[in-house]
């Protein structure tokens, strides 16, 4: 607890603390006074007792003197001796006690034990004692010859003492009576004082207790009222706020309080103490979930500053899929914001704020759509300006055909999960092809959209259940297709309209024919070279492209198109994870610039060989084997049992990639799957040759004779 909170506690309980201190002080005073008075009462009791004894002793002295005289007259020697002993004792007791009253001294008490007799302290008592001494002093002098058991006293001395005793006995008795009375008065006065003090003490204690109770009840009521108001305010906040608010403890369980919007946002019943992570796991993709787990762990730990990790939050505008009470899947975008709650310098909880950002994300998407549309138009204009009209028209034809194929596949409904997965792979291959061709022509808007679609479909493939794609995912693909058509139709319209406008100045001569006549490189060679240089630049690599593909362009158009598409993919692969960075190449004693070769050879008898070769790192079976095990495609035992060749052959399977990481150009396990499909489409077959750290060659052999 820090100083501020200590002050706050003191301030809150100040009145009660004051009342308790007052109570303790008052009680201490009353107890002290009581103790003192009790002590004084003891003294008074001794004094009263001993003053009473003085009365008795004065009478006994007179009586013993008379008995002594009588024993002497009767010659009763034993009686004389006995009476002298008693006289001696009586006189000593009377004298020391009287002295004690006057000066305060230890005397023999009523029980025979020594006790302290306090000096009388009132004027009356002092006067009585003084008067008593005035009589006692000559009396003691007359008695002195008889003391000490002195049997040889003179009868004359006895007679004098008896005479004095008879003359003063009543006076002494009266004085001792007065002393007793005065001491009783003093004792009574003390008792009264004690009673008054006790009454005052009780009254003070009662008042103080009442005050404490009233203050406590008032403070408790005020506290309850404040607490109730605070609770009401919290309730109002939690019932009004649109965001989902809740606390997450170190065990990642929800706290007891959460906003009413939370169950609505998460489309599920929420109970205090629920585990948050399974809820999140149901909503988001596996990768997203794993990132979120790491992020929340970071926040709950103490080591990293919150401000440093905020930007790492993976749960911003995250697409989530939830099932509503009717069993329908609801897709939304949610943002989860996390803030540490620090108590006494340690993280006690994480405050989680959930927002439905669907509208914002969709609006952003619409804005992006509009931008892309404009971008498509501008890119088409630029392409037209570069007189690459034939390639563009070819791209439009091919893309239109691919989109139709996708739509047709989507319309062929199937219940089988295998068929649905097959459909997804088929669509991904077509999208990949569009992406490659768009990349060659530099139509970024289409390439970017293709890449985004591809990423989303990869996510679908990785996260689809055993039942294959859900109906909602199929619907999502249809929406993605619509997005494609949107961009495609914009491009197609502008190309068509400008083509018509430029019709006279841009004769409908195929680009390759024009190239042949002008001695320029074939547009495909230019495109593939540009693509290779762009990818190399993006990856910080250097490449020299050589093409000997003239024979390719004398082949039937269908084959040319398929092989062009294959080339694009193989070139992307070669640059993405074949050819190394200059530093890596130098360290392997290779030239800093990689070599990429494409050639097309006639083998005779209508047979051709089309080859794409790079001098990069080759296919690394060990890396591929580890990747296949890590991705769960093969068990450790299966992977170990397979030869390097068998492992290498798996690169043509959908979803398998040898790349260490995926990016826009490769690594998603779609390309070689699509390549294989196209090679099959021209009745060709493919061979792969590779040597680690040396080269990779893809040979496609096909026939034009059927």
């Amino acid at each position: 607890m820090d100083t501020t909170s200590k002050q706050s506690v003191f301030s809150r309980y100040r009145k009660i603390i004051f009342a308790v201190i007052l109570f303790m002080v008052a009680d201490s005073v009353v107890i002290g006074i009581n103790f003192y008075n009790t002590y004084k009462a003891d003294e008074s009791a001794v004094s009263i007792n001993l003053s009473g004894r003085q009365r008795m002793l004065s009478q006994r002295m007179t009586k013993v003197l008379l008995l002594t005289q009588r024993s002497l007259e009767a010659n009763d020697e034993a009686g004389v001796v006995r009476n002298l002993e008693e006289l001696d004792l009586t006189v000593r007791l009377f004298d020391t006690t009287l002295k004690g009253f006057r000066e305060g001294d230890t005397v023999t008490g009523g029980d025979g034990n020594p006790t302290f007799l306090v000096q009388v302290d009132t004027d009356e008592s002092r006067q009585i004692v003084k008067d008593a001494y005035a009589i006692w002093t000559p009396y003691l002098e007359l008695l002195r010859p008889l003391l000490g058991n002195n049997r040889n006293f003179s009868p004359h001395a006895l007679e004098a003492a008896v005479g004095y005793a008879q003359a003063n006995n009543l006076k002494v008795l009266k004085l001792m009576n007065d002393l007793t009375t005065d001491l009783e008065v003093v004792a009574n006065r003390r008792a009264s004082t004690l009673r008054i003090v006790l009454v005052i003490g009780i009254v003070v204690a009662f008042v103080n207790f009442s005050y404490t109770v009233v203050i406590s009840i008032r403070d408790l009521m005020a506290g309850d009222r404040k607490l109730s108001e605070a609770r009401q305010e919290t309730r109002e906040i939690l019932s009004t706020v649109h965001e989902g608010l809740f606390l997450l403890n170190k065990s990642k369980k929800l706290g007891t309080q959460f906003s009413e919007s939370l169950p609505i946002l998460l489309l599920r019943d929420i109970e205090p103490g629920m585990d948050f992570m399974p809820i999140l796991e149901e909503m988001v993709s596996k990768d997203m979930y794993e990132s979120a787990v790491d992020y929340i762990e970071l926040l709950l730990g103490e080591r990293v500053k919150e401000s440093l990790v905020t930007s790492l939050n993976p749960l911003i505008d995250v697409p989530v899929s939830m099932i509503d009470k009717f069993g329908n899947t609801q897709n939304r975008f949610l943002s989860f914001f996390f803030n540490r709650v620090v108590v006494d310098g340690t993280v006690s909880h994480v405050l989680v704020t959930v927002q439905d950002t669907t509208e914002k994300v969709l609006l952003a998407q619409q804005v992006e759509e509009a931008k892309n549309k404009a971008k498509v138009e501008v890119e088409a204009l630029l392409r037209l300006a570069s007189s690459d009209f034939g390639s563009l028209r070819q791209f439009i034809d091919n893309t239109g055909q691919s989109l139709s194929q996708i739509n047709e596949k989507l319309s062929q409904s199937s219940e089988s999960s295998r068929d649905r997965l097959h459909t997804l792979n088929y669509i991904m291959r077509l999208v990949h092809g569009i992406k490659g061709e768009a990349a060659v022509l530099g139509i970024d808007a289409i390439e970017g959209y293709s890449h985004a679609c591809e990423q989303e479909m990869i996510g679908m493939r990785e996260n689809c259940s055993q039942d294959g794609l859900s109906g909602e995912q199929v619907l999502r693909i249809a929406v993605l297709l619509e997005g494609f058509y949107e961009r495609y139709s914009t491009l197609a319209n502008i190309v068509s309209r400008l083509g018509e406008a430029l019709g006279t100045s841009a004769p409908n001569v195929p680009d390759e024919v024009r190239a042949r006549h002008t001695g320029q490189a074939h547009p495909f060679v230019t495109h593939i070279t540009n693509l290779a240089q762009r990818i190399a630049s993006d990856h910080g690599k250097k490449v020299e492209v050589s093409c000997e593909v003239e024979k390719l362009f004398s082949l039937p158009q269908r084959i040319v198109q398929e092989l062009q598409s294959v080339s694009i993919q193989l070139v992307r692969n070669a640059l993405s994870h074949g050819i190394e960075t200059p530093d890596e190449r130098i360290s392997r004693k290779k030239p800093a610039t990689g070599a990429l070769c494409l050639w097309c050879k006639y083998l005779g008898n209508g047979q051709y060989d089309f080859t794409v070769r790079d001098d990069g790192r080759g296919i690394l079976p060990e890396r591929l084997r580890a990747h296949l095990v890590k991705s769960g495609r093969l068990s450790m035992t299966e992977a170990s049992a397979m030869s390097d060749e068998e492992i290498a052959r798996l690169i043509f399977q959908p979803g398998v990639s040898s790349a260490a990481a995926a990016d826009r150009d490769a690594g998603h396990g779609i390309g070689l799957d699509a390549v294989m499909e196209k090679v099959k489409g021209i009745n060709g077959h493919m061979q792969v040759r590779s040597r680690p750290d040396t080269f990779t060659e893809f040979h496609i052999q096909f026939s034009t004779t059927g």
């Binding site: 069993g327 329908n328 239109g400 319309s411 409904s413 999502r476 929406v479």
Partner: protein, 155 residues
Amino acid sequence: MSNLNESDIQSFIDAVSSFFFQVTQEKVGIRAAYLVEGGIPATTFDLTSYITLSGAFTGRVYFSAPRVMVAHLLLTMQEPDRGDERLLDAVGEIANTISGNARKHFGETMQISVPVTQATEHDWLNSVVSPRSYVILVKWKQYRASVVVDIQHTD
């Protein structure tokens, strides 16, 4: 066709799904989803109902189902009358549910017509919907029905 996202389209499917779930306790699943494009037609069944929307979005949402499916639905609802009028009423009710959901999804500013129902010939939908309309084939029991979303954003 533009600017519709799957949440918009899903709201129509959810309406159909909710209707069937409330009446039969059985879910309706999406069997296929595609676009009216490249010669691929919108699938028309025997009975069709539709609503017309105007406001931020303009167009129509159609629900088309085979007669036998609607008859089976009425049977499940223990409806003794399964005549043509009643069958059309049933598809009209589904369109009505779509209308309610659309109002909820798009907001009260959207104007939505009363449902129109009619017996339809093969290919009727294809002749009335715009290119790139969404066709969603849904499945209830062994039957298929189509929800066709032909809506454009009003610029």
